[in-house]
Amino acid sequence: MKNSIKYLSVLFLVVASSCSDIIDLNSESNIIASDYYKNYTELQSGLTACYKGMQDPLVEEWSLTELRSDNTVMDGGSSTSTPNHDLAFLDQFYPPTTHQGLYKYWLKSYNNIKNCNTVLNACGANFNPSPGVIEYAPVTIDATSSQCKSIAAEASFIRAHHYFNLVRLYGGVFLIDEPITPEQAKRINRTTVSDIYKLIVSDLNNTIANGNSSSYNASSQDLGRANVWAAKALLAKVYLTLGRNSEASALLDSVIASSGYSLQSNYGSVFSINNEMNSEILFAIRYKGGGLGMGNPLPNLFAPTNTGNAVINGDGKGYNTPTSELLNQFTASATVVDKRREFNIGEFAKYTSKTTVATTTAVLTLTSLNNIKVGQFVSGLGITGSTKKVKTINAALNQVTLSATVTVPANTTVSFFTSVYPNKYTSPTVLAFDAENDVPVLRYSDVLLMKAEADGNTTASKDLINLIRRRAGLADIVSFASQDAFEKALSLERKLEFAFENQRWFDLLRFNATFQNAANKAEGVMDAHFTALWSTVYSTFSVLPVTAAELQANSNPNRYLLPIPQYEIDTNSFITIPQNPGY
């Protein structure tokens, strides 16, 4: 008996002391971060993730830029769903500080800044604020110094891209240039706008100094990566924003002279999915469709609601609807239509009139005028192109006059387009939210127009603008009556050229500094926008019924900046984070 006790006890002890490896476990399905970024291949895969991270903020970016400008409005304003509430608030310049969209944009941008900081840190690239440069520590990982620098050059560009957007949207944000712990974060307060720009300029100079400076090559496997030319163009835009036009001009000269980038002859081919990364794209945020988790969600956000699969599989959300002002501006005159219109604006006949047409000219006699408004586009047998719209309505005679002459056989059913939408990024898809289209960030036409902007009202500048106009099928401008006229023309050209490329709001702010005439400044433009659209758009919002005057009061310079997300202010119980004025 005592023996058996002994044996059992020994067995017990042996078993009890030999199994500590049961609890020494590590993840088997995911790489452990602390063991990573130790060689060139791993740095590259970290950098790839930084590119991917640029996609995320784009889901909200249009709502903070295009929607707040005079380019687009919230079409679904009558819906009471939370996303529609939030978008209506942005459109009306009334975002609550707890607004989810502006918090998501903030979080996604800073998340990718974190990714960039991790890669930059692993490369030994540190921001030294006093001279305003990126400095390199000696390499300690399995990569050469030049490999580290080339990786850091690209990460710097991505970080600069995010900060440039953040500083223009939120003002003096939080300057985070290296990986930080949650505890450190709670001791950091907002910094000044100029300090943020210092980092942006340093980062872009780092890309220019250490990046790839090969000229454009249509078959390069590096297409899509940030190179020296993209950095120069972006830095030029930063300088224009800061009013440092001569520095911008010099950078743009360099791009025009040596980058190898050029204008596409046809505006539409710039955005074609069969011509991605063409010679006009200095930098784009790339997408890839086909169920890879890399597709572009924007077409489903922008397609009109309740269109079934007529515009895109999976229906649309009806966000970011082009304004009638924008549509009108694409029509240069009664006879000339901007060629860029059809590549920017899609039209969908939500409503088919049972109306039959009894005449054959631009004046259509209809059986009923129900639901027909001035400005609507018309299609039907014999009506070609997408430019024919209702010019006037004569209710007494049941007649509408179209903006161009058409020939329509009698008893034709005519469709009246009631929905327009941005179709710049629309291509056929199998899955919803999974389109192929890339979203351009910097185009060669931007380089040319920035060059004109940097140099001011000169003959060369006028020629650059005309270069863009000619491609759009528009007549040359002979001369500008004044500096204001020049700027106004340039501003309009940019508006049409870069419609839905999230540039309009930043352009409005940038031109604010130089415009003399108050009507051309951002406040004047937005006042006119609210006046023009109150009765047809804003008065129908159920969320926040406001008058045109209230809208105009909302869009004051205090609200040009978005609020710092309330979440961020609330989370920090150590230091008080100042909110932007006006909130």
């Binding site: 609890i23 939080f174 078959s219 088919t352 919803a432």
Partner: protein, 1077 residues
């Protein structure tokens, strides 16, 4: 650690024993009816034996002064001095009191009278006659301090269980479930109620500390039935019944709603204030106040469809999707055996239909349990429990049905199809096709009946035909959506193991339990083509998860009765547990037909919906316990456990969990022993530490995941990237949450044990809270793991059991009530944490307050007029804060400005009391029992009124509302969308109190002589009901105050008390038969 182990071993091994010459005693043990009782334990000092099938025993004793002890579960023990007798026959009396009840504790059992911790026991008497399919639901209101909340009434849905409040700020704050000694990871989901013998709940930390790192939220110990030494007995139990919704949402049809709008408009137009406004604001003339003409046309369009195409009778989605559901329960059982081998074999089937279409739950359980005596000293227990569950879930939330407008039928009829055919895009729609809102957009609506007569508006006017969009919803109608989705989950499980008990010497046992828990879950989530929108291909998502848990538990147990009234028991143990969890999900798209939906038919695989993971979890523990009984009056228990877990980083793996408790049987003191009405007076106190390790795997290390991008010409070449996680930061220093709990308890039995009271008071502090702490979003990740702060729970529980009437008419009552209060004592260095729900409503955790409080704006009715607003002098930048007909926010800080500084605490989700009462009556062969259960206090945030369509036609939100300044309704009900967002205010904070008649059970047992004639041993018929009465609080505007949202942001323990689209409470009737032979 190991030194301690050696020390214990030395104690064990050094205990010697001896034998003397002796005499032999034999006899028979019978019950009060004279029937022999097998398996009675007969003890003399260290030796024991058991009676055989005929109740006979024989045992050797020392001398005439030797004392024999006869004990058997459920009977009062007897002690006999041998004297000169050679044959001692004993009649054991069934114990009516709890005095000698045996309770299961962690790694052993204990006599009720010796228990020093706080342990509640619930015996399975009619548990298997309760018309619910899950044990947790059946336990609601039965045990003091155990709160069970049926957060969803869907068939087979998990209930939320908490023991003594919330001791953790993790989402995983549910108690550990241990079935026959084996911790079961998925709790009570697969258990068959008919197999359950008893449920014990270890409530205080001292009792739970033996489970160490998993004990902080309490431990539920389930003991399943075992075989008894007897001839084979068979049982058959069958019950069936039906259930229906107790209450539905009080919705208006489209026509009723338009009638309301017309009558409101008529009133509004008589108001001079509106007329004055009307001159500048033509919108006042529209159907909705401040609504546009377009909106008016859209509303009337729905009215026209309902009246001219649906015959004036709207489609009631709510009634169509809810049904009278069936409930079925079939149980077979066989038990019996010899002294060498006893068996318990059972098979059970439960079919539980949800009251919503496509909600079904089926459960099949087998249990085979053998107790085998391999030799006198070696016993083997084999336990096998295969199970199968199948669950069908609806793809749509009930909200999507009840909020749906009645003008849209779910299938087109001839009239609606012809109508939408006018639009070229919908020209192919035929009667019988699903009808979606988009079909009706942009058409011209003529107020004309099919026979050509005119449909007049409710005010007698005629409507000029106009284009309309009766609903702008882009969603498919919910019925179509529900019918086009199939979500089926199946789960195959095996709980099994062997326990080998070696009796090394009298009272000294070595036990090794080696078990396996295997679970294989599969889920197939199918979506028909076009079900999620036109042009969307069909989709089949295959999910499978295998879970294999291996456990070895080895204990040494030494029990020594030092003399009649002093005894000691020692336990020493070592356990190791290893769990492997492998899961994959594959999403296939574009199948050739809805019938051929295996992956080989998929045209392509959606990579964004395809994942896999493979992980292992390990737990290693050493434990020890000493129980000491002095003079049968003083009871001491001390235990210690140390756990090492793979959940934590290299330096933080180990945690230790000590506990100690003492008890005093005061009634055994001389000064009380003569008080004849006092049967029991026990005082208990305990202190212990238990832990919580329910955190995400590998929370101590940051992991990377794939993040790919394309570079190069054309559409680019996919290039692999790796990115750090975006949701929550790792923290390599995170470690155990520790709960320190003190418990004071008292057990009182008086008047011949007819009144029994148990009272417990506790105070527990949870330290080093494992928190997903909100961090600055600009650091890139909005949350991070941390051990910060501490939380206190304190409260009391009272359990009362009385025998009110004896004799022919019997009546007994058991009641319980519990109160718990939690307070945050410290949150690291933070003053508070704010968390946001899906509607931007805020949940605040503030030091000194309860764990979660609702944070927002207080309201004081509504603004009745613009004049009233102007007179208030308030200004605000908050959207729509100052609108007549909208909510009036209180200027809390009195600065004249309504802004974010006016937010304050507007409620909390925690009840003041939870209680339950069960009454049992019996008269001759009839018995009746009913259970009442309730929750008093606590609030919820009702998310239903967030959307326009969920509040506009809901009578609970549009009765007595503001119409105009002169007709402000009750002055508290705002008008539709006017004014400030309701979801940010206390207007949606509602009282969640309720009480319910949970169960009624009426049974009849056929007389024994009658059933014997037909060859049965017993026959019982019964009927039972669930939720026959349910009363919720006055301010509550929903239909089920127990309903809670738990997905998305509501998975966090720091966001609690939100409800949206609660499922109705099921009212159930069941009829059953119970046969034993």
């Amino acid at each position: 650690m190991k030194k301690l182990l050696l020390l214990f071993l030395l104690i064990f091994t050094s205990i010697a024993f001896s034998q003397n010459d002796s005499k032999k005693i034999t006899g028979t043990v019978v019950d009060s009816k004279g029937a022999p009782i097998p398996s009675v334990t007969v003890t003399f000092e260290d030796k024991n034996t058991t009676t055989d099938l005929d109740g006979k025993y024989s045992i050797e004793v020392k001398n005439a002064k030797s004392i024999l002890r006869f004990s058997y579960l459920g009977f009062a023990s007897q002690i006999v001095v041998v004297g000169k007798n050679k044959e001692i026959n004993i009649t054991l009396q069934e114990s009516k009191s709890e005095l000698d009840e045996v309770v299961v504790i962690g790694y052993g059992t204990q006599k009720r009278s010796n228990v020093t911790g706080s342990i509640s026991k619930y015996k399975n008497e009619k548990l298997d006659e309760v018309a619910v399919s899950r044990l947790d639901q059946a336990l609601q209101g039965k045990i003091a301090g155990v709160q069970v909340q049926n957060i969803s009434s869907e068939a087979g849905a998990d209930a939320q269980i908490s023991v003594r409040g919330i001791s953790s700020i993790n989402a995983g704050a549910s108690p550990l479930v241990v079935v026959d000694g084996q911790p079961i990871p998925d709790g009570l989901a697969t258990l068959n109620m008919a197999d359950v013998a008893s449920v014990e709940v270890l409530k205080d930390a001292a009792s739970a500390a033996i489970y160490g790192s998993r004990g902080a939220s309490g431990v539920i110990l389930i003991t399943t039935k075992s075989g008894k030494t007897d001839k084979a007995k068979y049982s058959f139990k069958y019950s069936t019944g039906f259930k229906s919704a107790y209450e539905k949402y009080n919705m208006m049809t489209t026509s009723e709603y338009i009638n309301l709008l017309y009558s409101e408009r008529a009133i509004r137009l008589t108001d001079p204030a509106i007329q004055a406004e009307g001159l500048t604001n033509p919108n006042a003339l529209n159907l909705l106040y401040q609504g546009s003409a377009t909106k008016t046309n859209n509303l009337i369009a729905g009215y026209i469809v309902e009246n001219t195409m649906l015959g004036g009778k709207g489609y009631d989605y709510q009634s169509e999707v809810l049904r009278n559901a069936e409930f079925k329960n079939i149980q077979f059982g066989a038990t019996g055996g010899t002294k060498a081998m006893k068996y318990y074999i059972s098979a059970g089937y439960q079919g539980d239909q949800g009251i919503m279409l496509k909600s079904n739950f089926q459960k099949l359980n087998f249990r085979t349990k053998f107790d085998i005596e391999l030799s006198k000293r070696v016993k083997l227990n084999v336990n096998l429990n295969p199970s199968y569950t199948s669950k069908e879930s609806p793809s749509e939330n009930l909200t999507n049905f009840w909020r749906y407008p009645s003008w849209l039928p779910y299938q087109h009829n001839a009239l609606t199809a012809a109508f939408v055919n006018q639009n070229a895009q919908w020209a192919n729609i035929r009667p019988g096709d699903y009808a979606h809102p988009r079909h009706f957009i942009g058409l011209t609506y003529y107020p004309v009946y099919p026979d050509g007569s005119t449909l007049f508006m409710p005010d007698g006017t005629t409507f000029t035909p106009a284009a309309g969009a009766p609903s702008n919803s882009a969603q498919n109608n919910p019925m179509a959506s529900l019918l086009s989705h199939d979500i089926n989950a199946k789960s195959y499980g095996l709980q099994g193991g062997t326990t080998l008990n070696v009796n090394i010497s009298p009272g000294f046992d070595f036990k090794t339990m080696n078990t396996v828990y295997v679970k294989y879950d599969t889920k197939f989530d199918w979506t028909d083509r076009n079900a999620e929108g036109d042009g969307i291909v069909n989709k089949g998502v295959y999910y499978d998860n295998s879970y294999v848990d291996l456990l070895t538990e080895n204990t040494l147990n030494y029990k020594k009765e030092l003399d009649e009234s002093n005894s000691v028991e020692l336990l020493l143990g070592y356990t190791a547990q290893q769990t492997r969890n492998t899961s994959t999900q594959t999403t296939g798209l574009d199948y050739p037909s809805n019938e051929f939906n295996t992956l080989n038919n998929a045209l392509f695989i959606d990579k964004s919906g395809t994942f896999g993971s493979n992980n292992q979890i390990g737990l290693l523990s050493y434990l020890g316990r000493v129980n000491y009984v002095i003079d049968n009056k003083y009871f001491l228990t001390a235990s210690y456990r140390t756990d090492g877990s793979s959940y934590f980083g290299p330096n933080k793996k180990w945690g230790s969990f000590p506990a100690a408790s003492i008890g005093w049987a005061a009634n055994k003191e001389p000064f009380l022993s003569n008080v004849d009405w006092l049967n029991k007076l026990n005082f208990r106190t305990s202190y212990g530490v238990s832990g919580n390790n329910r955190i995400l795997n590998y929370g101590f290390q940051n992991l990377l995941s794939a993040s790919n991008y394309s570079f190069g010409s054309g559409t680019g070449t996919q290039t692999g990237g790796q990115v750090g996680n975006t949701a929550i930061n790792a923290n390599e220093d995170i470690t155990w949450e520790s709960t320190f709990q003190t418990n004071y308890g008292m057990d009182l039995s008086i008047l011949n044990n007819r009144i029994n009271v148990t009272l417990d008071i506790y105070n527990s502090i949870t330290d080093k809270l494992l928190l997903q702490q909100a961090t600055m979003a600009f650091s890139g990740v909005p949350l991070s793991w941390n051990n910060i702060g501490s939380l206190r729970n304190r409260g009391f529980e009272v359990e009362l059991n009385t025998t009110n009437l004896k004799g022919n008419f019997k009546w007994s009552t058991s009641a319980n009530i519990a109160h718990t209060e939690n307070r945050i004592i410290e949150l690291g260095n933070e003053a508070y944490l704010l968390n946001y729900g899906e509607r931007n409503e805020i949940y605040k955790s503030v030091v000194g307050g309860p764990l979660v409080q609702f944070f927002g704006y207080k309201t004081d009715g509504i603004w009745i007029s613009q004049a009233q607003i102007a007179a208030s002098g308030l200004t605000s930048n908050l959207p729509s804060a100052l609108k007549q007909g909208g909510l009036k926010i209180v200027d809390i800080n009195g600065d004249g400005v309504l802004d974010t500084n006016d937010r304050t605490i507007i409620g909390d989700p925690y009840p003041d009391f939870t209680w339950g009462i069960t009454n049992n009556f019996s008269y001759k062969n009839f018995d009746l029992s009913f259970s009442l259960q309730g929750v008093q206090g606590g609030e919820l945030i009702n998310g239903d009124p967030n959307y326009g369509e969920t509040k506009s036609a809901n009578r609970n939100y549009n009765s007595n509302r503001w119409i105009s300044p002169q007709n402000p309704g009750d002055g508290r009900t705002p008008y539709e969308e006017l004014g400030f967002n309701w979801m940010l205010t206390d207007y949606v904070v509602e009282d969640a109190s309720y009480f319910a008649l949970r169960e009624v059970n009426l049974g009849y047992n056929f007389p024994a002589n009658l059933v014997k004639k037909i060859g049965l041993s017993s026959l019982r018929l019964y009927t039972s009901g669930q939720n026959l009465f349910f009363h919720s609080a006055n301010g509550y505007r929903g239909i089920n105050p127990e309903g809670r949202s738990t997905s998305g942001p509501y998975g966090s323990a720091l966001i609690a008390g939100y409800q949206r689209g609660a499922f109705p409470i099921p009212k159930t009737y069941v009829f059953g038969i119970d046969i034993n032979f």
